[in-house]
Amino acid sequence: MKPRALVLFGYGINCELETAHTLALVGAEPEIVHLSELIYGEKSLRDYHLLCFPGGFLDGDHLGAAQAAAHRLRHARIRTSGERLMDHILEFIQAGKLIIGICNGFQLLVKLGLLPGFDGHYGERLVSLTYNDSGRFEDRWVWLKVNQESPCVFTRGLKKLYFPVRHGEGKFMVQNEEVLNKLVARQQIVLQYIHPRTGKPTEEYPYNPNGSVMAIAGICDATGRIFGLMPHPEAFNHTTNHPRWTREEVSEDELGLVIFRNAVEYIQETLLS
């Protein structure tokens, strides 16, 4: 059996096709599901192993990135049963399943309080993603360092990545120093923007494209099974996506597929074995 992945769409999500395509390439069985299908009980989270919140502009990012969408999900009830959709998501997490939020999906995860999820405590907003220091939306590729001490199951065995960012609100912020210290101490910082020359996390624009604190590009929850990142691994699904593929050798191993392949392998090892 292939791991089943639910790729959410609707209300301004716009990366569902390439996300599903990438999942299929690594052996998952992706299904693009409209939020209404969950709300009307036509589809159930229980039938899936991986939940993807793809990139996009949920509700146009009015009120702030993914802010209105988070409110929408918090208040959503399944029409057929009256249950809260959030309870289904929490149950999904308790069942040891995986969640990934990319770009707008990452913004949604933090605004729902599913990240950082300290001590398995979900629902509290402690971190945020807001306007880039440049005040601009930007599309550019960035180098990322993977924290190999992190519990994140999506990045196991990975060291360095190169993906595009495409956002206006990707600056990672924390409520206070304590939150940041906890993220560091518990190895929940998964990805950091690095300077290509030094290989070190950087504050320098444009390598750190948004001014994120500690150059944070992605974090996971305490279990490592919920992962949010601003860069788009699904946008690097083919060697010709690389901005310099006509002048450099691009190996298949560099593709963003690695993130999803890790998820598939984890599901096969734990949930399907």
């Binding site: 509700d59 009015h62 009120l63 802010q67 409110h71 601009r136 930007e138 600056k171 006509t246």
Partner: protein, 1021 residues
């Protein structure tokens, strides 16, 4: 009146406010004001009686992100930000203007109270507060509001000093639309109206109908048979406002292309040549496509041309590709942000409303502006070009990015004459499976009995008279309702839904509601079925109080009209409801032959389809060609060609547009192959884009364009020829297959109809005839058919200013007419856009040099063709030696280059256009981060031999390629018999060296300096 609660949200005082910093930067740079800092406060006006605790939860949990923000309820937040501001400027929308932030906030409130809001008494409206710190006078604050923060057509503002604000605060009523008009229907007995009265009616109602058109309508409404028929429907002989408005819209230049369909008598005053052409559209544009298709025979890849909202070609055995480019010039002149946003989301609906509906896969945007550093006085009612630039850029950013469609290609052209009207070209491509529900996907057809269903947004007074308005020059009485603001997310929800409905086979036809609204969409679809009946009280309204004709004509955005068979309607509406999309049955298709309009059961309009669509009288126009006399300048030969090259690289029409490109998402959907920026540092200028619209396949499409209005000052024939050649060449450079390539023509002209206000109309019309003739000649020669296109014919600014016709023009642009008005006409502009198949995207190529040691070749002949060039322009001349295109030779060259690219013989390919060979060499080198050594004497060249001419001539059809040494023989063999030469090689040292035949350096410049010259001018606007 309901209670209004004021909720404010701001970033915590200790955090940066990037939005405020941007405003401060612009106040300093654009307005030259001494502002120290700016912070922003988002304001929500909540209308309705809600419990206090609920409002607080709404403020602190829903609207505010507690990690980074602070909120307040009915309490000025400004006082709590530890920010010593001096002024408060608050900007809010005028009633009825699309407020996307407010709409989303209202939806969030509805979720919280678990019921929908009462549209009569409840609502949420957004506003933005700017706190200014610095030595700023009230006048300067006013200037900031007017020229930077707000647009008075759509917004209102309040300015308070800190004292005033702290004393009295700020409160004002919510911008609810309170103006009601009774749903009355006006009528006119046209047969008693004199010609003068007919024209007054046309003018006063902004109908833009000519006397002969008004007379045609009058005569039709005097026909006894028609009067008798009307009686059966309960209508008198008088024309109703519903009918008159619908006719004016359908017959507008914007919709009927009356100039392109006119009978034109053309005279060449120089040669004495004379001919009459019955519709330049049918003869030259559609005519050329027919010839090409015939010649292609079984290899014809066109599926649907000139009949639908977009042209459609076959891409491969699975997919069809629909492509359309539109302009949105007048609205962008009035409200650059809203106009451009509506332009992009509007053109999205064209391929989406083509055939059974296409999945949108790319956008392309080309802008024509006056220079952003304009320092002469601005004529009244015009916005500063910098503001137009930034507003248009941002509108397209929000429209494209939020819709999730990659912006893959574009350019910006600068000329002072675009001060009067900027040109905003927005294009969109989409893919369709070849078959949908067992039928060809590119065909559609509403059937009698099918229901007319309106899907998407609601109707307000937005953009009423938009179609007629864009057919008029900007003048004093231009209505504010001409501006609409798009909402990409409402549209995205709608397209998500309709694609699902398409695949469930729930509709038979689809078209968009753009210019002319329901009048246009249903009027058009009625032709498929043979009639339509519309109940004008049924479409949902944004606010009450619209007259029937306004409901019919409204151009409120994000709406599609579909034809749904009655047996499918339940499923259709159910799916819409679930996906949170509004869909309403508003009528049905018939075979009555009439466009039948009803309001609350009563007939308010009855128009025979034949008269509506074919009744407009053909115009008879005169064109006279007198070639303009520009002398070839006598320029001294420059001593420092390196300095000239840097100067050329810094010209606005040449320099880097990275600032704009980076802000557009060019790789969403995951199929990007050749991006708009390329090279070793991802910042070189790509010639064209390549993408994979279907991620599971290895083939893809190239998207390119050509535009060169600068040649129009010499001869529009060669202007058009060069635009077509440039577009094709760009596509070929990245690997587009010239034998599987289609074009779109977009003409943006100045008024070419001779009149008191247009004394040079015959000349301008001759320019149009020549340009369309070139489209014919060169598309046929290249075998690249036009599949769709558009014209926009009144791109002039005209304002009675009481100027002295004999005196100096204080504005430095345009002409003063004998009556003292100022007229600014855009240079005749053709945008030629290309889509081409790329059979294997892994063979695509980019423009940057790749390896030291590779050989550098130029393909094509260079001549002393500097007329209209950037080089001449930089010295203040136009000249007369316009580049000419030899399509036969060029086509052969492009075919060979195609093979060379597909065989992998080429390491880079870049076209030489603006700024000529020298600019292309510099761009290739600094994009690749490797130097070039060039022997200028090796360049195939015919002319006087001046190095500056060889370097900066803009002769057409030339391409620079680099070839790995080991491929030299194969490459040269392939190019044998064409005009080409090896002119140098790629070197490791980062320097551009150009030598003459005696080995002397003509240019020796470091790449970093060249690149800096190219990147600096528009690094940030």
């Amino acid at each position: 009146m309901s209670r209004v609660t004021r909720i404010e949200v701001a970033f915590k005082p200790e955090l940066r406010d990037a939005r405020g910093e941007k405003v401060a930067r612009r106040m300093r740079e654009f307005l030259g004001l001494q502002v120290e800092a700016v912070r922003t406060v988002r304001v929500y006006l909540v209308e309705g009686d809600f419990p206090q605790d609920l409002l607080e939860r709404y403020a602190y949990e829903t609207l505010c992100d507690p990690v980074i923000q602070r909120a307040s309820v009915n309490r000025p937040l400004a006082a709590e930000l530890n920010f010593p501001f001096d002024w408060v400027i608050e900007v809010g929308f005028r009633p009825g203007v699309t407020d996307n932030e407010g709409r989303v906030a209202a939806e969030a409130l509805a979720l919280l109270i678990e019921r929908t809001l009462d549209p009569q008494t409840e609502g949420v409206y957004s506003a933005m507060q700017y706190l200014l710190k610095g030595k700023i006078s009230r006048e300067e604050a006013e200037k900031t509001a007017r020229e930077l923060l707000a647009n008075e057509l759509i917004e209102r503002w309040w300015i308070l000093s800190r004292e005033e604000y702290e004393k009295g605060g700020l409160s004002y009523p919510a911008p609810r639309v309170t103006e009601f008009s009774d749903p009355t229907v006006e009528t006119w007995d046209l047969k008693v109206l004199s010609d003068d009265e007919l024209m007054r009616l046309s003018r006063e109602r902004l109908l833009a109908l000519s006397l002969s058109e008004m007379q045609t309508i009058r005569d039709f409404f005097s026909n006894p048979d028609f009067i008798a028929e009307r009686k059966k429907y309960g209508l008198g002989p008088e024309i109703t406002d519903v009918e008159l408005e619908s006719l004016a819209q359908t017959w507008s230049e914007h919709c009927k292309h009356k100039i392109f369909n006119a009978r034109i008598h053309y005279r060449d005053l120089e040669t004495g040549e004379e001919f009459t052409v019955d519709s330049i559209f049918k003869t030259y544009i559609r005519g050329s496509t027919e010839k090409i298709r015939e010649k292609l025979g079984p290899r014809d890849f066109c599926l649907s041309v000139f009949v639908d909202n977009a042209g459609v070609i076959k891409l491969n055995d699975h997919l069809a590709l629909a492509f359309k480019v539109e302009t949105h010039n007048s609205p962008s002149a009035l409200d650059p942000y809203g106009g451009a946003l509506t332009g992009i989301v509007g053109v999205n609906r064209d391929p989406f409303g083509t055939g059974k509906g296409a999945l949108l896969v790319f956008n392309t945007d080309i802008f024509c502006f006056a220079p952003p550093n304009w320092d002469k006085p601005l004529p009244p009612r015009l916005l500063h070009p910098r503001r137009i630039f930034e507003g248009v850029r941002e509108g397209v950013e929000h429209g494209g990015n939020q819709s999730g469609i990659p912006t893959v290609n574009g350019s910006i052209v600068f000329d002072p004459r675009y001060l009067g009207k900027p040109l905003v070209f927005c294009g969109t491509g989409g893919i369709l499976p070849l078959e949908v529900c067992g039928e060809p996907s590119w065909k559609k057809g509403a059937r009698p009995g099918d229901l007319v269903v309106m899907v998407g947004g609601r109707i307000g007074k937005d953009g009423i008279h938009g179609a007629t308005f864009s057919s008029e020059a900007l003048h004093e009485g231009s209505p504010a309702t001409a501006v609409q603001i798009g909402d990409p997310i409402t549209q995205k929800k709608m397209t998500d839904f309709l694609l699902k409905a398409r695949d469930e086979c729930l509709y038979t036809s689809i078209t968009d509601n753009g210019a002319g609204g329901l009048s246009s969409s249903v009027g058009e679809m009625a032709r498929e079925a043979g009639g339509a009946e519309l109940d004008l009280e049924k479409p949902p309204l944004k606010y009450p109080g619209l007259r029937p004709w306004e409901i019919l004509l409204s151009e409120s955005q994000e709406r599609m009209t579909v034809a749904v068979p009655p047996e499918k309607i339940d499923r259709f509406l159910e799916l819409a409801r679930k996906m949170d999309v509004e869909a309403t049955v508003v009528g049905r298709f018939t075979d009555s032959g009439y466009f039948h309009l009803k309001y609350q059961g009563k007939t308010v309009g009855l128009l025979p389809l034949k008269f509506l669509h074919e009744g407009v009288p053909q115009m008879e126009l005169q064109a006279e060609w007198q070639p303009p006399r520009h002398t070839e300048p006598d320029l001294p030969e420059p001593e420092d060609l390196g300095a000239v090259l840097k100067e050329m690289l810094s010209r606005l029409n040449v320099c880097s547009k990275e600032y704009v490109v980076r802000q557009y998402d060019h790789e969403v959907q995951g199929g990007s192959v050749v991006k708009p920026l390329t090279g070793v540092q991802d910042d070189g200028p790509s010639d064209a884009a390549v993408l994979r619209p279907d991620l599971s396949r290895q083939d893809g499409i190239a998207v390119a364009h050509g535009i060169c209005p600068k040649f129009s000052d010499i001869d529009t024939y060669w202007m058009a020829a060069n635009a077509i050649d440039e577009a094709i060449r760009n596509a070929v450079c990245v690997g587009g297959d010239i034998e599987h390539m289609a074009g779109l023509d977009n003409f943006c002209w100045c008024d070419p109809i001779e009149s008191e206000k247009t004394p040079d109309g015959r000349y301008k019309l001759a320019q149009l005839v020549r340009a369309t003739k070139a489209v014919h000649d060169f598309t046929v020669a290249y075998g690249v058919p036009c599949i769709s296109g558009k014209d926009s014919m009144k791109n002039d600014y005209l304002m009675a200013l009481g100027l002295d016709p004999k005196g100096d023009n204080p504005y430095g642009v345009g002409v003063i007419l004998p009556d003292g008005s100022l007229k600014i006409s855009v240079p005749p502009t053709l945008l030629f856009s290309i889509v081409a198949r790329v059979p294997d995207v892994t063979r695509a190529q980019t423009m940057d040099v790749k390896h030291a040691g590779d050989l550098l070749y130029i393909l094509g002949m260079t001549r002393d063709e500097l007329g209209g060039s950037e080089y001449y322009a930089s010295r203040g001349f136009v000249g007369s030696s316009v580049p000419r295109v030899n399509a036969e030779e060029a086509r052969e060259r492009y075919l060979r280059l195609r093979e060379a690219i597909y065989y992998g013989l080429v390491a880079s390919a870049h076209d030489a256009s603006d700024g000529g060979l020298a600019v292309a060499l510099a761009e290739k080198a600094f994009s690749g981060g490797l130097g070039l050594f060039v022997d200028l004497s090796a360049v195939p060249y015919e002319g006087s031999g001046r190095p500056d001419f060889i370097l900066f001539s803009e002769s057409a059809s030339r391409i620079l390629v680099t070839v790995p040494r080991e491929k030299q023989r194969d490459f040269e063999k392939l190019m044998e018999g064409t005009t080409y030469a090896q002119i140098g090689e790629v070197i490791a040292e980062p320097v551009l060296i150009v030598r003459d035949g005696l080995g002397r350096d003509l240019i020796r410049e470091s790449l970093s300096e060249l690149k800096a010259a190219w990147q600096t001018p528009l690094r940030e606007v």
